[in-house]
């Protein structure tokens, strides 16, 4: 039987979410998606820097069959996150949104309280809300009540490559939450100066593994498709 996952009323056969940060070239995104089978990919929204060299449109490298998951990075309050989500939706990114409200600039840790507030607002508007949070079973229950489509606890601080420092807390969320659990951030683990394939690594750690969002393991390679 095919392994189907439903998020916000939509079915997905892959449990791997991918990111688009720090690819050497946007042209690698398509091959990465084809090789990984990922059906959901994150993007971010930023002010245009008139002094920066022009970049091609990252969205043009993402097939229509792949669901866009714009994040609200840069938001420090629920209000800012809601505004970014509105812009992304009006710009044609669809109804999925990853809520990311970060107030700790040292380790880029999410603010669960503001994240919950943004989730409540956007879920009521009909958005499919995937909130990025500190791993905590209480917030996972509150996010369910608020209408979130999933909960995204961090494995370790963003970009830390520490692996799953939060494993016991995430395990408890998996055991108790009524939401799909997407392990996000810090999941890369290094061995002999090479990233260990995160999906395989996490499957060994969590049974069952709900979902995983990765960025480093793919983006660190010159050719992310090699990580298949």
């Amino acid at each position: 039987m095919e392994d189907q996952l439903t998020l916000g009323g939509r079915n997905f056969s892959s449990r791997l979410l991918t990111g688009t940060g720090k690819f050497a070239s946007h042209t690698l995104i398509g091959p990465m998606l084809a090789a990984s089978g990922s059906q959901i990919i994150t993007v971010a929204l930023r002010r245009v820097d008139p002094k920066a060299p022009p970049q091609d449109n990252i969205l043009s490298h993402i097939p229509d069959t792949v669901t866009l998951l714009p994040n609200t990075s840069g938001a420090r309050t629920a209000r800012e996150a809601v505004r970014i989500a509105h812009i992304a939706r009006e710009a044609g990114c669809g109804d999925f949104v990853k809520i990311e409200v970060i107030t700790d600039m040292q380790y880029l840790l999410p603010d669960n309280h503001e994240t919950l507030k943004a989730t409540e607002i956007l879920a009521k508007e009909g958005c499919i809300v995937l909130p990025y949070v500190m791993p905590d079973i209480t917030i996972s229950h509150q996010l369910y009540d608020a209408g979130a489509a999933a909960v995204m606890p961090l494995g370790s601080p963003i970009g830390s490559n520490l692996g799953l420092e939060m494993k016991p807390m995430i395990q408890r969320i998996i055991e108790t939450s009524r939401l799909p659990v997407i392990v996000d951030a810090g999941t890369a683990l290094w061995s002999n100066h090479q990233p260990v394939c995160p999906p395989l690594y996490l499957r060994l750690l969590f049974q069952p593994l709900h979902l995983l969002r990765v960025q480093c393991g793919y983006r660190l390679s010159q050719n992310p498709a090699d990580h298949e």
């Binding site: 688009t20 993007v43 971010a44 002010r47 022009p54 970049q55 449109n57 963003i158």
Partner: protein
Amino acid sequence: MNININGEAVETSTPDILSLVRARNLDPSSLVVEHNHTIIQQAAWADTLLQQGDTIELLSFVGGG
């Protein structure tokens, strides 16, 4: 006239959003424009006139996690 673009005060003589985008040499295909806190679809850029004190946000999608 003076307007605010991406948080900075700017003096400009461009009459509408399309002219502003062209004057700044920006790629329209990847651009999201917010005019006074309202998203303006690309088809309406030429008809959206700029006025003294307007606030413009020029945004684009980028790689992120």
